[in-house]
């Protein structure tokens, strides 16, 4: 299903729209603690931008930006960021994900430390969700490249 579309309109519209979708997703992630949204929603919108790119511009251009191997690495990085911030709070003498204790390292007041800690956790969640969604998308839509098709078993 993911091959380059031969329609001019779809290709041009997708080309113009994809950077804006990515910036909007990053805005949703970064402003998650003021307005609706957060890590999960931002990650899903990021994955949707890659889906749009893959559907309109083909698999090659998508793989150049986010390959399966990169998706695996990025998802691990996301989980590591989430767990690492939690463990750091644990090491500094608080509970798990007790962001106020991060103020000792960052040299800010506990309130600001909480804000920064939530931001870091949300970035981690967004990376993990985006990578996993991309992996699911690739797994579903590139399986037909293999010679055997499920549909022959009707």
């Amino acid at each position: 299903m993911i091959q380059e579309s031969d329609d001019v309109i779809v290709k041009a519209v997708a080309r113009l729209l994809v950077p804006f979708i990515v910036v909007y997703a990053l805005y949703v992630v970064m402003h998650g603690h003021y307005s609706p949204g957060g890590g999960f929603q931002g990650g899903v919108i990021l994955a949707a931008s890659f889906v749009l790119l893959g559907v309109s511009h083909g698999l090659e251009k998508t793989r150049r930006r986010m390959s399966e191997k990169a998706a695996r690495v990025v998802s691990s990085i996301g989980v590591l960021l989430y767990g690492g911030i939690g463990a750091l709070c644990l090491i500094l003498g608080g509970n798990y994900l007790d962001y106020a204790k991060l103020g000792k390292i960052l040299r800010v007041t506990p309130a600001e430390a909480r804000s920064l800690g939530i931001l870091g956790v949300e970035i981690g969640v967004a990376l993990a969700v985006m990578a996993v969604m991309c992996t699911v998308f690739f797994a579903i839509f590139t399986a037909e490249e293999s010679p055997e098709d499920y549909r022959s078993v009707e």
Partner: protein, 239 residues
């Protein structure tokens, strides 16, 4: 007798050697010439490659900067927070996005006349809105009448627009206007479904295409190739 023979044969041998030497010298000369030419050619090519490489990197850099600026404007519109922390976040995010997607936003745009295009595009929008309102009234008067005097047809015309972005602008303008829908663009040929003869005539007049060509600074010309009769298709669909 033998001496003269010997002398002659040596003379012959010398002559052969002389000719061989001349040949060898000629060959060497051509070889040297070839190698010199080849090195010169290779150097030229390398210089050219270096030049195009730097040029490519330069356009890439320009693309990244331009994309960053546009995306930063979009970010500020969304965010509405102008303190240092959020602005830094925005710059980082936009630069990252621009680095990843620098070849999408400026795929084949001639850089330099962007401001003129933007100004002309903004001036085009009120005309389009007026056109949409007029077509709305026309289509509503057609549809709400008791007999519904519609005359659906597929108009096929060849456009003179060159870049994909101008084609898309024209196609979306046609689709936004009620009564006409762009069905397909194949190799510069538009297939447009028109609801009535009046709408099709307005399309064939080519006013909209001229205006779009004026926005993107391209040649403006339009001629009708063919008008397909869609009545039979509708008949078969209905039965």
């Amino acid at each position: 007798m033998e001496v003269t023979l010997l002398l002659e044969s040596t003379d012959n041998a010398f002559r052969v050697m002389e000719r061989a030497r001349e040949h060898a010298v000629g060959l060497l000369d051509t070889a040297v010439q070839f190698t010199a030419e080849q090195t010169r050619f290779r150097q030229e090519k390398r210089g050219q490659l270096l030049f195009t490489g730097t040029q490519k990197r330069k356009t890439q850099f320009q693309n990244i900067v331009g994309t960053t600026i546009i995306l930063l404007a979009f970010w500020m519109l969304l965010s509405g927070k102008f303190d240092a922390f959020h602005l830094t976040l925005g710059v980082i995010c936009c630069a990252l996005t621009a680095y990843l997607f620098h070849d999408l936003l400026f795929a084949n745009v001639r850089v330099g006349d962007m401001r003129v295009i933007a100004a002309r595009f903004i001036a085009y929008i009120p005309w389009l809105i007026e056109q949409i309102i007029l077509a709305n009234i026309h289509v509503a008067s057609l549809v709400l009448r008791r007999k519904m005097p519609i005359d659906p047809q597929i108009v096929k015309f060849k456009t003179k627009l060159e870049t994909d972005i101008s084609c898309v602008t024209l196609a979306n303008s046609i689709t936004l206007t009620p009564g006409t829908i762009t069905m397909d663009i194949k190799d510069g040929v538009f297939y447009v479904h028109a609801l009535s003869q009046k709408v099709a005539n307005e399309l064939n007049a080519g006013d909209m295409e001229d205006r779009v060509a004026h926005i993107f600074m391209e040649a403006d010309h339009l001629y009708v190739e063919d008008v397909l009769d869609a009545a039979r298709i509708y008949q078969t669909l209905r039965t």
